[in-house]
Symmetry: C2
Subunit: 326 residues, 2 copies
């Protein structure tokens, strides 16, 4: 059995609790929290332990899933815990990946552990889709679309607008853009031509709806480069119709081959997810298995999904997957 620990009990921690039953070669042994363990209500599959005691669990955990935020938690936590555990995180600040990788690599090597960063679906499965497709079609174009799905960052940005009580924002890929890419037209698409943004907003009492809408659609970085629609609804409607966290997206590569590059090819990878955090967690579970096995083969340091041969991800043995899945 692969013994899994989780540092941090949020969406990812809850996802691991749900997914552990689908992975018969894994068991959940501890959830670590910065809070008072008595205040953390889990499914009760394993003990909840204060994070200050984590080092004592060194010999009892095979892979630690570090489930914190990319802005401040993971840059500190994944290197720290990689000295004691094989770690897995979802670090998604693309620009800082090289720095994070170097820090985790040094710490993991110091501790004789193997960690893997930036796991999930983007970065993660979408990165793999891009890499494989670029390897096959060196002469081509990449396109990535996100959605339809809830963007947590954009929902938070709306909630910070004066007069807004609550909000949910959906990122929606534009169908005609998808169709053009899929048809091999190789379009050049602006930000506005790729996605729209749809906002469901609950106003505070007495708020000025027109002003709130104006503040949202003109917000730089978040909305001003997009066609944005704002719907005002009641808190009851928001809770009833928009409590899910669906997401997904599309990765395309289009490219040509042939003596005169006369033949066009389209590679498409897409995800349609009812629950963004649960799917992310599902990816993490597969990579937890891979880390465990590669560590057993003697590997240490930091890796990404690019370093992992696919065979390590499934519980079946190599002869089985060759016979049944190739």
């Amino acid at each position: 059995m692969i013994r899994i620990g989780i540092a941090g009990y949020g969406n990812i921690g809850r996802g691991v609790e749900c997914n552990i039953k689908e992975n018969e070669d894994m068991e959940l042994v501890a959830i670590f929290t910065r809070r008072n363990p008595d205040d953390v209500k889990t499914q009760g599959l394993c003990p909840v332990v204060n994070i200050s005691e984590i080092e004592n669990w060194k010999e009892k955990i095979d892979v630690l899933i570090v489930a914190g935020g990319s802005a401040t938690d993971l840059p500190e936590q994944t290197p720290k815990y990689s000295k004691w555990f094989n770690c897995l995180d979802t670090f998604d600040t693309h620009a800082r990946i090289p720095e994070h990788f170097a820090n985790v690599d040094a710490a993991a090597k110091e501790g004789g552990n193997l960690s893997l960063i930036s796991c999930g679906w983007d970065p993660g499965m979408f990165s793999l889709a891009r890499l494989y497709a670029n390897a096959i079609l060196p002469n081509g174009n990449d396109y990535t679309f996100w959605g339809k799905g809830v963007s947590q960052g954009h929902s938070d940005a709306i909630r910070r607008v004066k007069g807004v009580k609550d909000a949910k924002q959906y990122t929606i890929p534009i169908d005609s853009a998808l169709a053009s890419v899929r048809a091999g037209d190789n379009p050049e698409l602006t930000t506005r031509q790729k996605h729209t943004r749809e906002c469901f907003v609950v106003l505070e009492e007495g708020a000025d709806a027109a002003q709130v809408e104006q503040d949202i659609v003109t917000m730089p970085n978040y909305f001003s480069d997009y066609d944005t629609t704002v719907h005002f609804i009641s808190q009851e409607e928001l809770d009833r119709d928009h409590s899910g966290i669906p997401h997904g997206g599309f990765v395309f590569r289009t490219g040509s081959t042939g003596k005169e590059n006369e033949n066009q090819h389209v590679i498409e990878y897409s995800l349609k997810l009812d629950s963004n955090p649960e799917f992310t967690t599902s990816v993490l579970m597969a990579y937890a298995r891979a880390i465990f096995r590669m560590k057993e083969e003697g590997k240490t340091g930091c890796m990404t999904v690019f370093d992992v041969a696919p065979k390590y991800l499934v519980p079946m043995d190599e002869a089985f997957i060759r016979a049944h899945m190739l």
Copy 2:
């Protein structure tokens, strides 16, 4: 530079000639043929050599692409050449993969070489799509659709029907079945509900069209389990409108997560290819690079796409792909 050789000059051999220019780290050094080399008209990028001399090229080739048929050529050729070269083949007789793997593995180890079998898009990229998706969603269903594309085997079967001069057969996935899978309905689909078959047939003079049509649509294994449409056209029309070899298809996995498995997810990988052999060749080139590198790291024996970490497939170095493609 990675020095590539090709054993066999057919569609794959011609594909390598077209694709080599897109891979700046590779050069084509020889094409081997069972025919008289003087009778083989190539693009002239490299010498054409009789296959009887292949052993003399041991030190001059890094990866040999063995481009023969799966029925009789590859089971003999890939093990034979793996004693002398790192080999790559497209072996696609699924039921015989374990046996072929064992033979190539023994021969490659004997020769101190590294070979990879069953490369291309199915088996190959579709196998990878299935494996990754199964690793992520252990609780789910797999669906594979092929087309729209030309099936060489079915076209050949039609050409063997009495009264048929020439023919081309397209395999076509049924849109409503695709839509149902994509919507997460988890349908159970019969063979007839997944694909239709469309045949373009040139009759011999005086042939009985009704009889030919009847012989095609009732042909066991090939057509009797499908809804098949037969169009009779002239040789001129066949040559003008049906000379391409397009193909493609869709690999889906649908699965659920959550405390009560209440959340559905759909993973879809699809290919739309103007030229089946040129795309297959493009995949081979990427894996030729991977074999070359993994051999340099000391690996020998037989592998499949499941054994290759994605980083080996692209010419860029590891720091670059982490910074730019993750």
